[in-house]
Symmetry: D2
Subunit: 388 residues, 4 copies
């Protein structure tokens, strides 16, 4: 069994999540091809070396181009800020490296298409980091739909609700700056829900959205890690928030289902409510990432006196990936979605097939994201077909 | 303490709910003016007499005009099918009778405005039946918002989900016929949520909607009571469903909040999920009518280690109307919302003030409903100000 | 269809609940024999007359013996304080009146047996007020067990948790005085759970209990209604609490199941958690009165990937009594349990059969209650057979 | 910062859990002393080598005595079957090795006391594996109690409910054999709840229990891993189940609180409900391991209109250990309790203090376990002081 040798660009929140997945994978999925944590890459040499030691990479380099030149790197893992994805990915593809790229694939649909074209031209394997697909409860929803156990889908109701920037004194971190993040709640949170909708229900046909920036000015950030930050001090200079705090949209899917998605960072009490409900002619499912081990499932053909949503704890051997972990009822957490994602990545490379989700999914997600943005600017319904 | 003598037009689902409220009120609210159940009115003399006996009305008449001529009737309660509201209400107003009218006020905005004008011209008291406002948990939400305990409102997320017509064999009852019902899920269910949004958040500024009829043909109904019905038999003739099965909308409120509402009869597993969530700068509330005694409440200024949604069982003496019923923890049900509604009605008449919600609320709700319908037809955002 | 003419002794919390049930019954159960609210009886003439007017009784008398002499009374409803039950019931039976008696049947097992003997000797109909049996969700649990859908029962886990006397300044109301109430949490709350266990699982074989009075002295009460009260003032005299604040017990049932029950008034946050969970070889059910419209149901033979507790909203036509009320999803409340109870009472009298639960159930419940009390005093397991 | 070099005896369920904790710890707790995964030990050389490779240990040996002779081992981690704990632990102590021992410390109280005595005589550090203490939600409960925010504790209500052996065809694995496991549900599951009670409420004063073996004969197992197993075939030989399927107990704590614990493997629908509720004079907390990231918290001094259990998602920086993992709202799983446990172990060794919980806690837990067993045999209350 051969290894996949990895060069990873980025070492913050996602870099930590990916590193952990690579470390943990061989222990719980011993039959999988093992990822080899070869080289970590970042611009700040000192912080990078600390990350290298902490995460357990063999080497560190400060220029990602070096990774592309090396023969002992099979896969480039891109989790640098979103505005760097495109350049690295295209160069990596051209260098013949497989690519794992965090979402969003790029800042614009055009960029994401260039990345896909480059990847396809190079004939490499490419994957995009929609990790939430890999929660076993979500996999169960997918299975129920694919097996027809929910019937024809009528409704998709998705939301990603957070509250981490509700304090007006929370500083202007990079995720609130359009030139780096590309988008606010919509690109960061909405992207996950758009992907979930595509994964579970199918392609979008037309969309219309609305958005708002509730807090328009914030203190300039002096320091930023993960989702937390501190302002520089009392007399902090203020800067413009250039992304959306909240975005809502409605949609019609190609199969006739109706959909709605809301992404907001202003829903007090919701730390990470990434959820959806799907209603079909035979049943319904409900998911909330804050209770990620659970899927609520309803079947309309249950006996008339005992119909109701079941709380399925998706930790049984009958549930995807769970026989690798602990006995039934012993739950897993956020980071496990990444481990499962990397199991798919390793398996696809080993078996010479494209992993899923890949850049095609990244592009199609971007089409929807950008169609919604266009619909907001032009205050009208936008067909996804317009985006082609 | 004088009585209010009532003539009621209609004796089906709502007629039963109102009758029960009138009967129960004096026992639990002994300090309230007592409603006197004088005359019940309907077209089918036999069924009407059965209802009279069952519900406890003194007399029955088959022509509502008779009610208007009598001196011993103070209030006309209109819960006949929606297409009959306008004529009765205007005549009642002109006869100087106070009016309680079920929602929707009328089939069209224009009609509802005529009704309001007639009521105002006559100087009578008028009320519209948005009964869900009167759940103590909803009253608590209102109180928290009015007292500023949720801060500035950012989001209203409303929904009314049912599943009673998902079976394609469910027959074509009057609620599925536009000429009688005026509208489907939107007018029946959405109207309640629009009113709730107005009550709790304030006036709508602009809206855009979408809708769908999933099952376009149904068997002709031979029989219909409440929300149930039976088809005529195996070789039943089919008829067109002329109303919406589901409607979604997005909105901007005058105060800057963002809103969304979904009304559907195709959400399997939801018998009566009339719910909302509101997020403000200081806190959030959540309500689901299937658990109508509960309000979930979040405050962002709770101590950092114990923040979370509280499940408040709104059955304490601190909660509206609850000292009239049972000790804390002893829950109430659907019908109690009508009793509280009638307490407001009796109190307003006694104290010579307009009850709330009244025809103004009925008209404003209709403005939003019709603005959404226009936005669906014209596939564009519609400002409420356009409706004037 | 004949009426049942009622004389009711008592007019406080339970008197109000019974009166409401009698009033409401004919409207929602028009095919049932109608209760006729003939005479209400209490010692305080002034308060009694107010109650008569408020509740809607035809007459009022201050001596319950008068009720027994009248020909126009068929049934005596006893909801006076527990220490008065025995005398009234025995006299009523001897006078040939049917009896509805609130729980607990009497202060002692011996007394309750005398009452049963008198009732049986007189050949009258007798019923005891274990109203919680009549929640439709509980009826569903009963049905599932009777139909074998839960298999062999292994576990009954019951509890009745309240918190209304946790404040040490809450005064010494009659429910805290042994000579009137007979018992504290155990007789008041535990009795309901013991009855529920017998109803659903079967007869107890042996028991052992423990109890505690956490607050041993309280201010003398100046005023007491329902479950609330006010102390006389700041320098209030203190009195001894002579009943238990909390009682726990373990049990073995005759069918081999294991059981536990906890009754306490010191469970902060629980206003009225009257609940149970039952585990059988094929499934489980869970109930909490604070969500009385719901039964959680688990079946072990559900497909392996969708096993989980279902939240069944017991408001469908498939659920007991619910077709009398509102459409599916429209919930009912505490008081409805009494209405259903009275439907059973009317039906039994009409059809010349004993209602269920009757004095036999009252006696058997008392056997368990008293066996637990003996086990507490003697610090040992007590077989129910010892109580005979 | 020095390392702690570990020799681990056992490589099944707990061996995997511990190995994962040792591997993961340095990445998420970089300031902690790092565990060095030196030698893994087991009797089956082939399976052991597979485990060594999978889990990432440097060496493997088949005789645990070898570990004690080596200078490069600082700590012996004992997770072999319970009947092997004593011999290994005493020898390890005598060899001057620190010890981490899985629960239960030993099969008998006497054995556990010998182990403690040996550990104390040797002056080594010793810890026992009550991992559930280390869920951040449990740590929050501890903090609230220690800070007096729940007031005086009145009630502890604990349970550990599972359902993995309800099928009568489930084979006779070692956990169902008294000579290896020592006890059934009580020693396996009850031990965790007893420890939780001691941790949160304090020492037990007296106890009484009951237990049952519902399925008395089972097929002989041919294969057993973790909690799953397969029977040998159709005509499998049957063997006696010699441990309890379910055990219940009641208790009085030294501080006057009342307690109850139920441990069962026959609660259908419960995969791993390790839970408790604690009621104090100022508030209550509730925990269920199936939702291990949540603690429900009630405070009686919340404003009268918004009292209710809060669902606290214990994933904020304000919660123990959580700043090491992911942003707020990103949950953790079962295995993280072991990582936190090992952080405590490393910290204690580094700072030359005893870790908590240690062998004293193991002995005190065993006292309660054995007192309950005695109370079951002798059908009487047993004081913990009797066990000394």
């Amino acid at each position: 069994m051969k290894q996949v040798r990895i060069g990873m660009v980025g070492y913050k929140f996602m870099g930590k999540a990916h590193s952990n997945a690579y470390r943990v994978l061989p222990m719980f999925f011993p039959n999988s091809t093992a990822p080899q944590m070869k080289v970590i890459c970042g611009r700040n040499a000192e912080a990078l070396e600390a990350a290298r030691l902490q995460f357990g990479w063999e080497e560190a380099v400060t220029d990602w181009r070096e990774l592309l030149k090396r023969d002992d790197i099979d896969l480039i893992d891109i989790n640098a800020p979103s505005n760097a994805h495109k350049e690295i990915a295209i160069a990596a593809a051209q260098a013949g490296k497989h690519i794992f790229c965090e979402k969003p694939l790029a800042l614009t649909l055009a960029d994401s298409r260039e990345m896909l074209a480059a990847a396809e031209a190079a004939g490499i394997k490419h994957m995009v980091g929609f990790n939430y697909r890999f929660a076993p409860a979500v996999q169960l929803a997918k299975k129920l739909i694919e097996e027809g156990r929910l019937g024809q889908i009528y409704h998709f109701r998705g939301q990603f609700l957070q509250d981490w920037i509700m304090d007006p004194q929370f500083p202007l971190v990079w995720r609130l700056q359009k030139e780096i993040a590309g988008s606010g709640s919509w690109g960061d949170l909405g992207a996950h829900v758009v992907d979930m909708a595509r994964y579970l229900v199918g392609e979008f046909a037309e969309v219309i959205g609305m958005s708002e920036t509730f807090i328009k000015e914030r203190p300039i950030a002096s320091n930023m890690t993960g989702l937390s930050a501190t302002a520089s001090g009392e007399n902090t200079e203020m800067g413009q928030v250039t992304v959306d705090d909240a975005t809502l949209m409605m949609a019609r899917f190609e199969n006739g289902a109706l959909g709605s998605i809301e992404a907001t960072r202003f829903a007090g009490g919701h730390r990470c409510t990434n959820g959806f409900e799907i209603n079909g002619s035979k049943g319904s499912v409900r998911f909330d990432f804050e209770r990620m081990n659970e899927l609520e499932v309803y079947f309309s053909d249950d006996a008339a006196d005992v119909q109701g949503f079941r709380r399925v704890l998706a930790t049984d051997p009958a549930h995807a990936y769970m026989d690798a972990w602990w006995p039934a009822g012993h739950t897993i957490g956020y980071e496990h979605t990444f481990t499962h994602e990397m199991v798919e990545l390793m398996d696809a490379i080993t078996n010479d097939r494209q992993p899923v989700p890949n850049f095609v999914d990244g592009v199609k997600c971007q089409e929807v994201l950008e169609a919604v943005e266009r619909s907001i600017e032009q205050r009208r319904w936008v067909a996804i077909s317009e985006m082609e």
